[in-house]
């Protein structure tokens, strides 16, 4: 039975940022407080609608049956290509939508000091969050691609207009990389659409994610062996599209520049949103739809993820720029996510789900810390800092949660994900008695080494920033303002809540979906 009730609520949610942008555009440019207040109201409205949608969602109705998709809206958009505007929700996507809304509202509050071109700024911020929401809500692969591509333009504007001194090259680099990813994904969509023509129930082809996952296994699209090569091509194209967005090692080159040059609030939303959406794509699209192809290159992906993490950790160790160090930490986490997704078991899938949700929290905390330091010291060079705990003990207190989460302290948000991925690797190694087992053990040890190195450079950085002798020019540094603390507070609550109650908050609602995915992998 399809649940069509309140079917337009997701469309309202996706459209709200667009409508809000039009309203913001009509406000007088000089009234910055009004613009700021309206933007905050807009983001709060988005959060409220998401919460309402979450309340309307029946969290227990999940499973492999495509008919169980909820809050669904399906409109034919381009009949000749059989492309539908199709959005729906289930517990997994709803958790991601909530995360995006929280991130957006945090970014909006954190932008309280933006005065220049405030109207355009908030419009771009709203469009960006709307694009991310649309991507997560979409049930059609083309709609997903569309929203993901739409997100490039506001992100480009936000980095290019409100960033650091080298913001324009960074924005251009990000846009080019993202466009390559989008084109790659578009090509995969076209091939999929063409290849699925004539399959039962879908004479004109389909790009319905649920249908592609459950009803149209990719291996049956072409039937013959050469078809598998094309399926492999689709897999690689899709992987490239997702990997670029996620900043997986080897496709991460845009990430350090963007993180170094973007302002903190925009960085929170752009990078955090990218991690959430591309992580969602990894979970929802790549692994389930192309499970057979994933399985064929499983070891390669695990090797890429684990050695990529080590590579990123080594790069992070050598950084003296705080922002770049943060970016390599994120790249290292992306490598772990890739490893977890390639494991294709419950430990791996649950682990990366937790990592995907935890990384934006920790990343935002780091970015906010760097913003506060930069605001006072006018740079983010770690070697020039020191002794800040003496003048800003509250900054150490608040940012220590992010730091401790990043080094994998148990009880905070990242540990569970890392532990599950690690357990998954060794579980796979022990349960297999073939050549892969040895490689898996090596990957596990490499991953562990990457985590230790990550801990080392984060602690070293914390020591150089907060402890030791303080420079004379830093004595006048003020303690944190109420607004600065207010940004930290929800991040701390999220870090602790995800670390202690990850089962109740995340894993329990989505467990049937995850089990369903693992069953698909088994097939």
């Amino acid at each position: 039975m399809k649940i069509y009730a309140y079917s337009s609520i997701l469309t309202c949610l996706i459209a709200l940022p667009g409508i809000g942008s039009i309203i913001l555009a009509m406000l007088p440019s000089g009234r910055i407080r009004l613009i700021r207040g309206s933007a905050l109201a807009l983001f709060t409205g988005m959060l409220v609608i998401t919460v309402v949608a979450a309340c309307l969602l029946n969290w227990k109705v999940v499973g492999s049956d495509p008919g169980l998709q909820q809050l669904q809206q399906d409109l034919i958009w381009i009949p000749s290509l059989n492309i539908h505007y199709q959005v729906c929700a289930d517990p997994l996507s709803m958790i991601f939508m909530l995360a995006i809304c929280i991130l957006a509202i945090l970014a909006c509050i954190a932008s309280y000091s933006v005065d220049q071109r405030a109207k355009i700024y908030y419009i771009l911020l709203a469009l960006l969050s709307g694009s991310f929401l649309g991507a997560v809500a979409s049930e059609d692969l083309f709609v997903f691609y569309l929203f993901l591509t739409l997100a490039i333009f506001p992100a480009y504007g936000l980095v290019g207009l409100w960033g650091g001194s080298r913001r324009e090259p960074a924005a251009m680099k990000m846009a080019l990389f993202a466009m390559v990813g989008s084109m790659s994904m578009l090509t995969a969509c076209i091939i999929l659409s063409w290849a699925s023509c004539g399959i039962s129930h879908y004479p004109d082809g389909t790009l319905d994610i649920i249908a592609l996952t459950h009803e149209v296994p990719l291996r049956q699209l072409w039937g013959a062996t050469p078809g598998l090569h094309i399926a492999g091509l689709v897999f690689w194209l899709m992987l490239v599209g997702i990997a670029i967005r996620l900043g997986i090692p080897s496709m991460h080159m845009w990430l350090p520049d963007v993180i170094a040059e973007s302002s903190a609030p925009t960085g929170m939303l752009i990078i955090g949103g990218n991690v959430l959406v591309s992580g969602y794509a990894l979970l929802r699209i790549l692994c389930p739809i192309m499970s057979e192809q994933s399985h064929q290159v499983r070891l390669f992906l695990i090797l890429l993820g684990s050695f990529g993490s080590l590579y990123a950790a080594l790069c992070g160790l050598a950084q003296s720029d705080l922002r770049r160090m943060i970016s390599y930490w994120l790249i290292c986490m992306s490598g772990i996510m890739l490893t977890g997704s390639a494991l294709m078991d419950m430990n791996g899938i649950s682990g990366i789900l937790l990592l995907i949700l935890a990384c934006p929290v920790v990343f935002s905390s780091f970015l906010w810390m760097s913003h506060i330091i930069e605001k006072r010291a006018y740079h983010h060079d770690i070697n020039r800092l020191g002794g800040l705990a003496q003048v800003m003990p509250d900054l150490l207190g608040f940012s220590s949660f992010g730091l401790l989460s990043a080094i994998g302290l148990p009880g905070l948000c990242l540990f569970a994900g890392e532990f599950l991925v690690l357990s998954g690797i060794f579980d796979a190694a022990i349960s297999q008695n073939n050549v892969q087992a040895h490689w898996l053990i090596i990957c596990g040890i490499v991953l562990l080494a990457a985590l230790v190195l990550t801990t080392a450079y984060l602690l070293w950085a914390a020591e150089r920033i907060f402890f030791g002798h303080i420079q004379p020019e830093y004595h006048h540094f003020q303690k944190l303002s109420v607004m600065e603390k207010a940004i930290f507070l929800p991040l701390i609550i999220l870090a602790v809540a995800l670390g202690l109650f990850m089962v109740a908050l995340v894993l329990a609602p989505v467990q049937p979906i995850l089990l369903d995915m693992v069953t698909l992998f088994g097939k």
Binding site: M253, P256, Y311, L314, C315, G316, L317, A318, Q319, D345, M346, N347, S350, A389, Q390, P393, D394, L396, G397, S400, L404, I407, G408, L409, P410, G411, F415, A416, F419, L420, L422, S423, F426, D427, A428, I430, S431, G444, I445, L448, A449, L451, V452, L453, T455, A456, L459, W460, A462, E463, F466, F467, G468, H469, L500, M502, V503, L507
Partner: protein, 688 residues
Amino acid sequence: MQIFMHDFQALIPAAVVPFIISICIILIRGFRSAKAALYISLSARLLSLVIVVYSIAHHLSNAENGAAVNAGTVQFHWLPLWFSGPHSTEVWLNIGAFTDTRGFGMFLCILAISTIGHIYLLSSVKNPVFSPLYFIFCDVMVIGLLLTVISPDLLQMYVCLAISSAGAWFMLNTVWRTSQEHATWKWMVPICCSDALLLLGIVISCLHFGVVVSSLIPGYSPVFSTGAVLESKPLSDNLDWYDYMGFCLVAGALGRAAQFPFHTWLARLNPAASPAIAAFAPGMVIATSSLLLFRILPFLSDNVKLIVMLCGTATVLIGSLTAVVQTNIKQLVLSIIIAQSGLCFALLGCGATDVALAAAIVLSLAASGILLTTGTVLAATNGLDDLHTLGGLWRKLPITALTSLMLIFLSTWVGGPGPSHILVSGLQVFQHNLLHVGGYQRFLFWGLVLGCYIMALAICRWWWLIFLGSSRSPEIPFQRETPAQTLALLLILLMAFIAGQPFISLDNLLSGTLTVENTVVLNDQAESLSSMVCNHLQWSGLTAMLIVMLMYFSGMGFADRIRRFPGLNLLFRWLNGGFFFSDLYSTFIGRPIRLLSYITAFLDRWVITWVLLTAALSIRGAAMIVGSLEWNISSRIWDFLTGDMLLLNHFFRFLRNRRISVYIIFLFIVLVFAGGALGIMAFLFGKS
């Protein structure tokens, strides 16, 4: 009135609630006053002690001694894990509490050290190095340590140890006395490495032993708990995994306890303030680590236990030899702590578990007291920390001198049959169990005995050079000890003394050991000799004191004499030069990793960027060439058509000035000529 379902349940709120309240209050007050933060934090400890005392009273009236007790109605599902293999299933990692008298003893010991450390701080909290942050992180560390010793399973132990390490790292950083660039994170990294190995061992143990039905063993967490694993049957017959697991677990414990070859990190704590080290080092290195090893002992094969014994003995030797040549007062005590921890590990490895744990309790209390003594000395001398510059302090610090002497007696097994009873019992079990270890027997036993003697010598030298004789720096105005300092030292002496007394019989209280199979049966003549030595080891402290006295009257310490001998000179330099292994690690591990990281970062930042940039420039260049060509060609064609080209200008002007018929005639002529040329070519080539 019985508040809790069981006595030991009281330990959970005692370990968490007061400290959380303390942290919250300090945070709410907004980091304003260190003194207020100290009082809040101290109140939390006292409250915790009250709860524990309640627990003791109730336990003594009810419970069976030494029995494993489940306090775990407070269990909640924390993290699910899924296992493949024959028993593929989902299990939950629970957070709960469990303790026996061993864990309880450690709990009390850690809480006492922490409380007395805060009492000691009452006099020095005005020092600007102490900020409210120090007390917040100290509370975090203590929560971690206390929860560690009442953890029901290994994973939770790991979790709590990690929390305590993080708290300790921040705490020590806030009270760093001198600028030690790049030093503080270096001591944390070995701990993180050992933690990673411990985690790896836990994962493998979990996967190796599989899932145990928790209902079989009520109160145990189903996956990692010692008891549960003992009841389970291994799922895999591959014994390699068993050894890997044991090795990883032991490496984790060795690293955390600063055992050879991971002992170098403890020396790096030296620049931190003494009370901070006193709160951290004995509790973490001796007490908690010993209990950790005790908990994982059932997992270990004989080979791995032998490794533990060898590492423990090597640590005793290296720690004591390093201590005997140290001139820095705090560094010397840290070396002693390493050696004492090694002794506990060696005893644990050979199976004298409860004796080792009893020794760990006494030694950690004594070590904490001695570290506090160094704090008093440093405060009294405005930071003089070289033994050569100290002396005659007993006049200024009489109570500290006397108390520390008694603490030294405790930690060197002098002062009656209390602690020496523990040591001799342990060594007897050790000696008995050595029958199974073949060729390592002599090294293990004599290394341990010799190490104990050298340790005693080192600590006696420390005391003598600080407190006796005349002052070697008379120009420096010495300050007197404060009441808070003396009170703290007296309290810790009292606790250590009581814990070590035979009427308490701590080892028996802990377990009811020595068991029958551990009773020594001495037949062999050589073993009788060993037995005689170990029975007389209780006099090692007095012997050491006599030697130190002789050293003192014959010059400035034995270490200076050693330097004059060519061979021993090298040994001295080796030992005194920062534990030697530290440099070794730095040279062979630290620097290559740094170099590799710089190369990787350079590659990532510049080479890949330049490759990308080159590719982008190439594309751009190609685009410019194509664009230029396109522009030029089109413009040339246009020019061609419009007649701007110089050479043909006149011709086309001529054409342009004519009518269209001229073009047609021109085209006709061209075609005729072209056709003719093609015809001639076809004729010629076709014919040939």
